[in-house]
Symmetry: C2
Subunit: 246 residues, 2 copies
C-alpha cells in the first residue's frame, strides 16, 4: 500500500489517498488515532459509480465515523472510476439499464451477470485492503463493513472473520444465489431499506433480511427514496457500529 | 379525574393512580414537571392483560420517558383488569385462542370481533383521558402515543389531532378495515416489528406499514420474539419521541 496524498479535513480528520497495486483507495483516521491508541475500522462500501463521484458522500460518512472514534476506508471497485475497463461488466450493466428503461422485468440472468462477477472480484480486493490497512499501527480492530452493493457486504460477512458487524444498504439487485449465502451470515447486521425506493425490489430486500442467519439483525425501513436516507437513520446506523466496534 | 394514590419512584418520578369515571389509570410525571414548566405527554398503550399484570413494563417505559423529560399516562382497557366484564369480548378472545391452539388459520370474523369493538370503545376513553390529563397544569403538549394494540394507535392517530407522533408495536391481529384507516394516518410514525414473533402475522404488519399515509414513517424490525424487544430498539423509539415532542 502506497500513500499518494494526504490532507487534514477541517475537523482534524486525516484523509490519505493510497494505491494497493492498481487499486486506488482512501483512508480517513480521526485525530485520536495513534500507534499507542489504535482505532477500530469501518470499510465504506459504495455503488459502482466511481470514487470521484461518490467522494462527497463517502467523506461525510467518514467524518461521522471519525467523530465516533472510528477510522474508515474505501477502495475503488473493479471496472469503476480510473480502473481498467471491464467490458463484460459494462455490457451486463448496459443490459440492465436497457431492461429498466424499457420497463421490462429484470431477469435473473441479467442480475447474475451484473452482480456475481463483481462480488467475486471485489471481495478478495477488500480483503487485501484489510490486510494492508490493519498492518498500519494506528488501526486496530474490530472491523465493520458499511453500505455499498449489498451482495459484496454479504459475501464479506461470510468469508472475512475480521469483520464483526455489518451495516447493509438494501438498494441493489440481489442474485438468487446470494439468498443461500445470506443464511451463512452470523455477525450482527443493521440493514437499511428505503421503503419507497422505486428502483429497488422491496420484496427481495425483505426476503434477504429474513434469510440472514444472524441472531442479531435489525431492519430499518424509512421513506425518502433511494438517496434520501433520513439523517436519523444514519445516526441509528452509527449507534449500531458504536455498540459493536467499541 | 380523581387521584387515588401517589408515590415517588426512586428516580424522583411521581406516580399517581387515578380514576376517570369507572376507568382506572396511572400518570407518571418527571420531577421537572410543574405549572411553570409543563411537559409533553406520552400515552402508553398496552395489551388487554390488565394494568396490574402490565405494571412492571409500563412503569419501566414511564421511567425512560421521564428521563427524557416526558410525562406518561395509561388507562385500563374496557373489559380488562378490574373493569366490568365484557362477555362479548371475552367470547371473541376465547374463539381466537381456540383457533390458535388448534393451529387453525384465524379468520377475519374472529379478528374483527376481537379488535374492532375494542377500538370503538377504547379510543373515546383515551380521548377523554387526554382531556382530563391536559387540564393538569403540569402537563402541556405535544402528545405522543406509544405501543399497545396497534389498531387503537392507528384509530387514535386518525381521529385525535392532539397526538402528533405515534410509536406503534406491530404485534397484534389487524382487522382488514384498519388497513384502509391506516391510509388516513399522516403523523410521523415509528413502527416496531419483532421479526420472529411467531404469534404475529408479519405480512399483515408489513402491509400496514406500507398503507400508512405518513410522509415520515420508520419500520424497525428486530429479533427476540414477541416480548423480546432489544434495549436498543426501545432507545430508538425514545429518540423518535424526543425528535417529535421536544
Amino acid at each position: 500500500m502506497h500513500f499518494t496524498s494526504q490532507q487534514h479535513l477541517d475537523d482534524g480528520v486525516l484523509e490519505r489517498r493510497f494505491t494497493l497495486g492498481e487499486i486506488p483507495g482512501i483512508l480517513w483516521t480521526p485525530a485520536s488515532a495513534s500507534p499507542s491508541a489504535p482505532v477500530p475500522l469501518i470499510l465504506l462500501g459504495h455503488p459502482t459509480l466511481g470514487l470521484d463521484k461518490m467522494y462527497p458522500r463517502l467523506a461525510e460518512r467518514a467524518r461521522h465515523a471519525a467523530a465516533d472514534g472510528f477510522a474508515s476506508a474505501t477502495i475503488e471497485l473493479p471496472g469503476s472510476g480510473d480502473r481498467p475497463h471491464w467490458p463484460a461488466a459494462e455490457q451486463a450493466r448496459a443490459e440492465l439499464r436497457q431492461a429498466l428503461a424499457a420497463g421490462e422485468p429484470v431477469g435473473d440472468e441479467i442480475v447474475d451477470a451484473v452482480i456475481l462477477p463483481l462480488v467475486d472480484r471485489a471481495v478478495p480486493e477488500w480483503q487485501a485492503a484489510l490486510d494492508a490497512l490493519l498492518a498500519l499501527p494506528e488501526l486496530g480492530g474490530p472491523v465493520g463493513y458499511s453500505g455499498g452493493v449489498i451482495s459484496i457486504g454479504v459475501r464479506l460477512a461470510v468469508v472475512e472473520p475480521r469483520i464483526v458487524a455489518a451495516g447493509l444498504f438494501a438498494g441493489s439487485f440481489i442474485p438468487r444465489a446470494m439468498f443461500e449465502e445470506a443464511r451463512r451470515v452470523t455477525i450482527p447486521l443493521h440493514v437499511l431499506l428505503q421503503w419507497d425506493d422505486e428502483g429497488n425490489d422491496r420484496q427481495a430486500a425483505l426476503d434477504m433480511f429474513d434469510a440472514f442467519g444472524s441472531k442479531e439483525k435489525s431492519l430499518h425501513a424509512n421513506m425518502g427514496g433511494h438517496t434520501g436516507v433520513p439523517a436519523y437513520a444514519g445516526e441509528a446506523a452509527a449507534r449500531f457500529f458504536t455498540r459493536h466496534l467499541r
